[in-house]
């Protein structure tokens, strides 16, 4: 079996959970002797390719192809140069000859890729990573006024974007569904995400819930650390709470900072909040200025740790007592949860969507999403209350997560085999 994993980016060129999930899957496929050929194709800016061709290889790795597809319409996700896209996809198919393409996102590529692969007789598997098909607000299902969105409709979407009529949102939805008809099977990393897409109109039987594959390198490190005991929190040192991820308006860093700012001095003295991540895209925005202001207000508590390499995430987590996931959007299956599990650390999490689904209330602490006050209460309770974390449960999670990854991979392979066993007429591509 030959498998192509197609992503909207290469994780080493721009870290994001979806890119990492796609790449981790590719790593696992590549290591599997039963897989004849695995190819990773990542969309990249032309600059990253380094020459004038539309394709290149990442660090000269011959099975990691970078591609620069033509631009995509921002609302309907259709390619603005279908002919060129078709040429690129056909070249990939002709030379990589995949039986299955596992697409991890259509953004930057265009919805047309579903149709192009399908028409060429390649089985199409697609993983949802957020709500991009449902929601035009960065696929977050947060209304433009900041409130959580529970369901989309053309009229309500137009309410978020008054310059775009309900009719246009209807066209958007119709086009997305039309192209989704070319997908043989959808994968959702969380049951919550699946529910949202089922409610939107994708038949439940066409979506399998399979958790993302973890980075093989991270998994390897987890194995070497699995026998270690979790850190014990002594009363004479500061409690460390760490955030991992991008600094953007949806990940809730500002909620965390506001919570810290509101803590009484006696609590602030006893905690240290570490922020691991970068503010790449929102530095000059209102959000960026807000973060800067709050950082200034919480200098005694919060430390900016900067960007981190994927390989070091587990040890960084193990250097903390708690991992905080304060996202204000629904999330899907944040990879940081899997990593926290493997690091054997308990979580403080916003109590919505995929985060709520993946948490274990025996060891993890929820707070009301978007509420700095609720988060401050939880932190205060950790410092001043009598909080006991069952380390055996955390240890069990470490082992379970390692086992789960094998299961998740196995589910992927089973899915591919099932799809490729169906009769497909392979189209001879021109050229």
């Amino acid at each position: 079996m030959r498998v192509m994993v197609l992503s909207h980016g290469h994780p080493d060129l721009g870290a994001g959970g979806a890119e990492r999930a796609a790449y981790s899957l590719f790593q696992a496929l590549k290591a599997d002797p039963k897989v004849e050929k695995a190819v990773f194709v990542a969309r990249a800016e032309h600059d990253a390719i380094g020459h004038s061709a539309f394709f290149g290889s990442f660090r000269s790795r011959l099975d990691e192809i970078l591609a620069a597809p033509p631009p995509v319409d921002g609302l309907t996700f259709q390619s603005q140069n279908y002919d060129l896209l078709k040429q690129l996809i056909h070249e990939l198919i002709r030379h990589a000859r995949p039986d299955v393409v596992h697409i991890h996102h259509f953004i930057y590529w265009g919805l047309d890729i579903f149709e192009l692969f399908k028409e060429a007789g390649v089985r199409v598997v697609f993983t949802f990573h957020e709500y991009a098909a449902i929601c035009a607000h960065f696929g977050q299902m947060i209304k433009t006024n900041g409130r959580l969105c529970y369901a989309a409709s053309p009229a309500e979407c137009s309410g978020c974007f008054p310059s775009i009529s309900a009719g246009k949102f209807f066209v958007r939805e119709s086009i997305l569904k039309l192209f989704f008809d070319n997908v043989d099977m959808f994968v959702s990393p969380s049951a919550f995400l699946k529910e949202r897409y089922v409610a939107w109109g994708v038949p439940a039987e066409r979506i399998e819930v399979i958790e993302n594959i973890m980075d093989q390198d991270v998994l390897g490190r987890s194995r070497t650390l699995a026998d270690r005991k979790p850190l014990r929190v002594e009363s004479n040192r500061r409690l460390t709470i760490s955030y991992f991820g991008q600094i953007n308006p949806y990940k809730g860093v500002d909620v965390l900072l506001e919570a810290c700012a509101s803590l009484p001095k006696r609590v602030r003295k006893r905690i240290e909040v570490r922020i691991h991540g970068e503010n790449k895209h929102f530095r000059d925005s209102e959000f960026g200025r807000k973060v800067d202001r709050l950082l200034e207000e919480t200098r005694d508590v919060v430390r900016m740790m900067g960007a981190y390499r994927n390989q070091e995430v587990l040890s960084l987590m193990r250097g903390s007592d708690w991992i905080v996931i304060p996202s204000i959007w629904w999330e899907n299956s944040p990879i940081v949860i899997q990593e926290a599990r493997m690091a054997g650390r308990p979580m403080i999490y916003a109590d919505i969507g995929g985060m709520s689904e993946k948490a274990d209330t025996r060891v993890d602490l929820p707070f009301s999403a978007g509420s700095p006050g609720a988060l401050a209460d939880v932190i205060g309770y950790l410092v001043e209350g009598d909080m006991y974390v069952d380390s055996e449960i955390l240890q069990a999670h470490v082992q379970a997560r390692l086992n789960l990854d094998s299961e998740n991979y196995s589910h992927h392979i089973t899915l591919y085999l099932r799809e490729t066993s169906k009769f497909t007429e392979r189209r001879q591509l021109a050229g």
């Binding site: 309907t76 259709q78 140069n81 002919d83 078709k86 047309d112 949102f169 209807f170």
Partner: protein, 592 residues
């Protein structure tokens, strides 16, 4: 046409005169010549002639200078004369036993001076013969030309270009009590006395009293009227007709040089004629129509073909989609490409240079993915909704036309396929022509269209308006038949044979910017015996009016709607209010 023959030359042997220009040629027999009176010694400047617009005939003018000439006038029927390009020279020759060489002559227009110079009576004779008694009476009177006494007795305050017209506004001494027309120097454009709106001007009245120039107690010296923009650059005359109609005086000339200012033009017209909603159709024609109209010249388009070739072994239906203002709905075209079979071609027509590149690239950069033959038309000007459809129909290749708005989303084309088959079946069986409209839904699955009815609307001056019954109600509530009769259907999605559309002359371009022309087309089709049906079928969506907002501001838009509505009522009110024509919308739901 005026022919001058040198004194002493024999014309009796001449059987006629022949005019030729390229492939166009006509002859005027000698018997149709009218001899004009002596022309002040016969040595006056060359007197070319003319195209008296008000008559049913026009003449190609011929100019020939000759001493002591006899002058003859020959009228040419307009259909023949219109075959000539008036800007080009005409070859003129005599049909005579000893015919001379043909002479190439320029055509020039008649002027008020020509009328005053003796042409009037002969022209009146031609007009009378063509049935234009009014024009004949006017031209046949004693004609004089006098200069305007500016600024003592007349002042032009505004000459403003807007739409296809020029708004003229100012004052002329004592115009309130007189019969005064306005005419262009070439007499092609006339604004009748009725179309010149008089207004009281106490300030002017006081001025005229000071000048001792008042002829009545009326202070109506102000005037406002609209003339076609084609007059721009010409001279204008006020044409005063004496109460006994025996004397006609051309006051002028007055140079017409106007600047475009839509807001000012609208303000002047509104001030002089009142709100458009207070006016009847005829009054709208005299006041607002030019301002709200687009140019209606000869239409032409560039043609670009994309996608597969048209099948030659079976008939195809042409889906005509005009684009204006917003290329977003190319998305609907891409959708159509994926749901239509090879029984269709798409004909996209773009009127709007702002979106041309987007539409063109939307096809050109997708050409290998197109499954339906697609013809793209780039109109050389904005011909409006009706014009765009008409030109697209003429350049379409199918025997059945689907007129489709760009904001129609066809999720299920089965209804279109069926309608095309039924229209062809009717043709084959020699039955009545069929016009098919469709049930159209909004994006929330409520009804947008199930056929039209024509109730009166108090919001539209109690005129009949095109109404969509059940509009906005859930589609599930419709319990009627899958095929229902209708008086008219929307052209947002309408199917009919190309023959019928052509026989009807397409949409009437008197309706501006996409209003009422579909209802008018249907009613004209009914007059010719066609049957109008609505096919009720799910899967057809009309994201109504998504492209209309870019057609101008809401105020102008509503004025255009009223103008179209008034025109529609002028034509169809009597027909639609006949008791037997009352249209039943749907079968009431049976309750237990």
């Amino acid at each position: 046409m005026v022919l001058r023959v040198p004194a002493g030359a024999a014309v009796d042997g001449v059987s006629g005169i022949r005019l030729a220009q390229g492939r166009a040629a006509i002859a005027v027999p000698r018997g149709q010549w009218i001899e004009l009176g002596a022309a002040d010694g016969g040595m006056e400047r060359p007197k070319p002639v003319f195209r008296p617009k008000r008559g049913k005939r026009m003449a190609a003018p011929v100019e020939a200078e000759a001493p002591k000439a006899r002058r003859f006038l020959a009228g040419l029927p307009r259909p023949l004369a219109s075959r000539f390009d008036l800007g080009q020279t005409v070859e003129v020759s005599l049909d005579a036993p000893r015919a001379g060489k043909a002479v190439a002559l320029h055509m020039v227009s008649i002027s008020p001076d020509d009328l005053a110079d003796g042409l009037g009576a002969a022209l009146a004779q031609v007009l009378r013969a063509s049935g234009d008694e009014g024009g004949a009476g006017l031209i046949g009177a004693r004609v004089a030309v006098r200069p305007l006494d500016i600024p003592r007795l007349c002042w032009i305050e505004h000459l403003v270009l807007s739409g296809t017209g020029i708004v003229a506004n100012g004052w002329l001494a004592n115009i309130g009590g007189q019969t005064v027309h306005a005419a262009s120097a070439n007499l092609e454009t006339w604004v009748s006395n009725d179309a010149i709106q008089r207004t009281a001007r106490p300030d002017v009245h006081a001025h005229l009293r000071g000048e001792n120039a008042l002829t009545s107690a009326s202070d109506e010296h102000g005037f406002t009227f609209v003339i076609p923009a084609a007059v721009e650059g010409q001279d204008l005359y006020f044409v005063e007709v004496s109460p006994d109609r025996a004397q006609v005086t051309f006051h002028g000339p007055l140079a017409v040089s106007a600047k475009r200012d839509d807001a000012l033009a609208m303000s002047i017209i509104r001030g002089a004629f009142g709100d458009i909603r207070s006016l009847k159709a005829e009054e709208v024609d005299r006041s607002y129509r030019h301002l709200l109209s687009t140019e209606k010249g000869e239409m032409s388009a560039q043609v670009f073909d994309f996608g597969p070739k048209l099948p030659q072994d079976r008939p195809v239906s042409s889906v005509i989609i005009p684009f204006y203002g917003d290329a977003f709905f190319m998305n609907c075209v891409h959708y159509l490409q994926r749901v239509l079979d090879d029984g269709f071609e798409l004909v996209l027509v773009v009127d709007d240079p702002r979106i041309w590149a987007e539409v063109y690239n939307g096809l050109a950069l997708r050409s290998t993915g197109l499954r339906v033959p697609t013809r793209l038309l780039r109109n050389l000007a904005n011909y409006g909704y009706g014009g765009a459809n008409n030109i697209a129909a003429s350049l379409s290749r199918g025997d059945v036309l689907f007129l489709m708005n760009s904001d129609i989303l066809v999720k299920d084309p089965a209804g279109l396929v069926k309608a095309a088959e039924e229209i062809r079946d009717r043709k084959r069986a020699g039955g009545r022509e069929l016009v098919v409209g469709f049930s159209l839904l909004y994006e929330d699955n409520t009804i947008q269209h199930l056929g039209m009815t024509f109730p009166r609307s108090s919001a539209m001056g109690n005129l009949l308006v095109a109404d969509h019954p059940m509009k906005g109600l859930p589609f599930d509530l419709y319990e009627g038949d899958p095929i229902r009769p209708a008086q008219a259907v929307t052209a947002a999605l309408m199917a009919l044979s190309k023959n019928l559309f052509t026989e009807l002359g397409g949409f009437d371009l008197r309706y501006e910017r996409g209003d009422f022309e579909d209802a008018d087309l249907c009613l004209r089709a009914r007059q010719r015996g066609a049957e109008i049906q609505v096919h009720v079928h799910p899967g057809l969506y009309h994201l109504e009016r998504q492209s209309i907002p870019s057609m101008g501001d809401a105020d102008v838009r509503s004025m255009v709607t009223y103008m179209n509505c008034a025109e529609f009522n002028r034509r169809w009110e009597a027909e639609l209010t006949k008791p037997k024509r009352v249209f039943k919308v749907s079968t009431p739901r049976q309750t237990a």
